[in-house]
Symmetry: C2
Subunit: 414 residues, 2 copies
């Protein structure tokens, strides 16, 4: 099989694809309140400082710090209470030497004050007089103007995916509309003479389409808009017609090949006809998923996945998800979280090949260093429910010839 | 402050709330293709076996295993090629002793065959004759009827959140409609005389509403539908009116209190008037977020969060997210993934209290055991951009009095 002469490791194969593409996400303006998970295209810049006035972080008394110098429980300072700071407004008084004002968390410091004494460190003395039991330094319990964010500061760089915290930060600055990248359209083509839509009556020899739906859900979770182009028979003309239309309408086209060698070859021939330069990678040194095809056709990425649903989903998480992210302009570093677990048997692997093994998490035993056991799920490679039974995947790196019983592994949930 | 006499650890506080509620998620029928992230309410049961016919997992020749007994490269077995199995249909022939049929991955075994020899282990001999170079056992390279899923088998239990793999598995079984839990409605009330909507012109002493939007995004990510009830002044009648309406219309009500002690007391008084039993927990032994209120009013959960945006978001991830999940009937065990990182300084903490510290991830140095450093983000507790600058949170458990420089910690991304 000539396509497998050169088998790249997955990361090299992915980089070959990404390097051949020139990602230019298109902008879309949306409300910040609707921006969860979207990717910022222009850096967010603060027009005003945050906070915009000196604010207390505690309940207590706004003072001139110098007036509290040396104050202690045994030798309090006595200050005249000159007013109460209203919430949400400028105090209509100022504080002179020897005076203080009642202030609530979030309130604005009156003119003349430079610190706040917490209410717990004060006592009411005579009427209109407050005993200060602890000295404060200038700026203590106060957030200065611009201490959170300075005016003109870039607060969120372009390429950042927006979490709840970014949405809140933008709202704090009054940034209620944003330029984010348009969600990329991802065309999904299923193929196979034996494949029928899930709602059809099954006849002997037929199977229902699984890949179009697992891939749609994965694309959706990664921020793309899945568009399904139906199930195409294993014929070059039909597949070329569907793929051409998808390539025109979408930002990325995914073709799940039939699972036999002949239909995989069909996919690569069709992809090469779609546009230049065509197939960049045919065959990746990974299990499952060796027959993966990575291509660029007239500036757009095209990915051919194995037909086996387990392989298709594992490989899509390695190749489709990063491309969908790059199409959105995602540049911020994205570490991948995992669960540490203790492998409960030996796993062998071929040196030079990267393996992804589905595992189920079990509670670890009392004496273990980590709370979970990783229990590999075996079975013939195209049992569809393998991934339903699995909590995540573990990776056997190319340099290893396997993993040992008892070893601590990273389980990547999916 | 009487509310803080008893400070429960967060997990005990959460359990007190969950135990006082009787979660009965309401069902909604939706298409399986739209079910990503939704929670299954009825177990999914296979009506038919999967696969529904004996299928080959390889390209090759369907044989009677007995006919290959003893076959090897030096002593091949010779079988007569009697036909080719069509994809997606029942072979219209059967195979007798001494015969074989060409078959493609996913094809249906013809009557009379019980194994498949991979094409790599065969050679074309004379016309219509195949040399078998390796013996196969009965069932080799074949998935039997029901080997993936048996008819009548429960394939996905109730309470499971649906991932791409579950959606694919359901499609494979022809289950295209599902009973999932209705997305819970989460009422969100902001309060504070100093708080204004994000799109309003800011006057001195005022701040824009942050919490309503961070909480909406968090609720959305957890599967709920956020409904915002506006910004309520710090007055009992106004807050009671808004909270009563929200309680009637929603499955959970969240009130972010003003940040001063007096407005926190107001929240707890209003919550106690809303319905019985009222406040169950007032004050949690956690930093940030001590003034948290957990309540049940006439069978529905009500959560009072601190007004400080950092505290509100940290506490919401501890209390709001699990309640939103429970409201959806989520019962399946959900381990939380993290990133291992090396703490780059000493952190102190009060014994008995659980602390959550925002950290930024930095690349680890070459000699470190893990690829990241966790760099704690300090600053006054209500700098809104603390969480924008952070990649995640680390937990200092109640039993510890701190964490040491160089220690390996779990960073929970948010």
């Amino acid at each position: 099989m000539p396509e497998f002469l050169e088998l790249l490791p997955p990361i090299d194969a992915l980089n070959r694809l990404l390097d051949a593409l020139n990602f230019q996400p298109q902008a879309e303006e949306i409300g910040t309140q609707d921006a969860l998970g979207r990717v910022l295209l222009q850096p967010a810049v603060a027009r005003y400082p945050l906070p915009s006035f000196p604010r207390t972080t505690v309940d207590g008394f706004a003072v001139r710090a110098a007036d509290t110098h040396g104050a202690s429980e045994s030798l309090p300072a006595y200050l005249v209470l000159s007013g109460e700071v209203p919430m949400g407004a400028t105090p209509e008084f100022s504080i002179s030497r020897g005076e203080c004002a009642l202030i609530h968390t979030g309130g604005m410091l009156p003119d003349g004050t430079d610190a706040v004494v917490m209410v717990e460190h004060t006592q009411s003395a005579r009427q209109e007089e407050i005993e200060i039991l602890r000295a404060v330094a200038v700026g203590e319990n106060v957030i200065k103007i611009g201490e959170d964010v300075a005016a003109g500061q870039e607060v969120i760089p372009a390429g950042t995916p927006l979490r709840p915290s970014e949405i809140g930060g933008l709202m704090a600055l009054g940034i209620t509309r944003l330029s984010v990248s348009r969600q990329p359209k991802i065309g999904i083509i299923s193929s196979g003479d034996e494949v029928i839509p899930p709602d059809s009556q099954l006849h002997p020899g037929q199977v229902r389409d699984v890949n179009a739906y697992t891939l749609s859900a994965l694309v959706q979770a990664a921020g793309g808009i899945p568009l399904r182009y139906g199930i195409i028979p294993d014929k070059a003309e039909a597949m070329f017609a569907a793929a051409s239309r998808a390539l025109q309408e979408c930002d990325l086209v995914i073709i799940t090949a039939g699972s036999s060698a002949s239909t995989r070859d069909l996919t690569s021939r069709v992809v090469n006809q779609l546009g230049s330069p065509g197939v960049l990678v045919h065959g990746v040194n990974v299990r499952p998923g060796k027959p993966t095809i990575l291509a660029v056709c007239d500036g757009k990425p095209v990915i051919g996945l194995p037909g086996n649903p387990v392989s298709a989903l594992v490989i899509a998480s390695l190749f489709v998800v990063p491309v969908v992210e790059a199409l959105q302009g995602l540049t911020r570093f994205q570490p991948k979280a995992s669960i540490k677990a203790q492998l409960n048997l030996n796993l062998s692997s071929q040196a030079g090949r990267e393996d992804w093994v589905p595992v189920h998490l079990l509670p670890g035993d009392q004496t273990a260093r980590v709370p979970f056991q990783a229990d590999p799920i075996f079975g013939k490679s195209n049992l569809i429910f393998t991934l339903v039974r699995a909590d995540g995947l573990i990776r056997i790196p190319p340099a290893a010839t396997g993993l040992s019983n008892g070893e601590i592994v990273d389980v990547y949930l999916f």
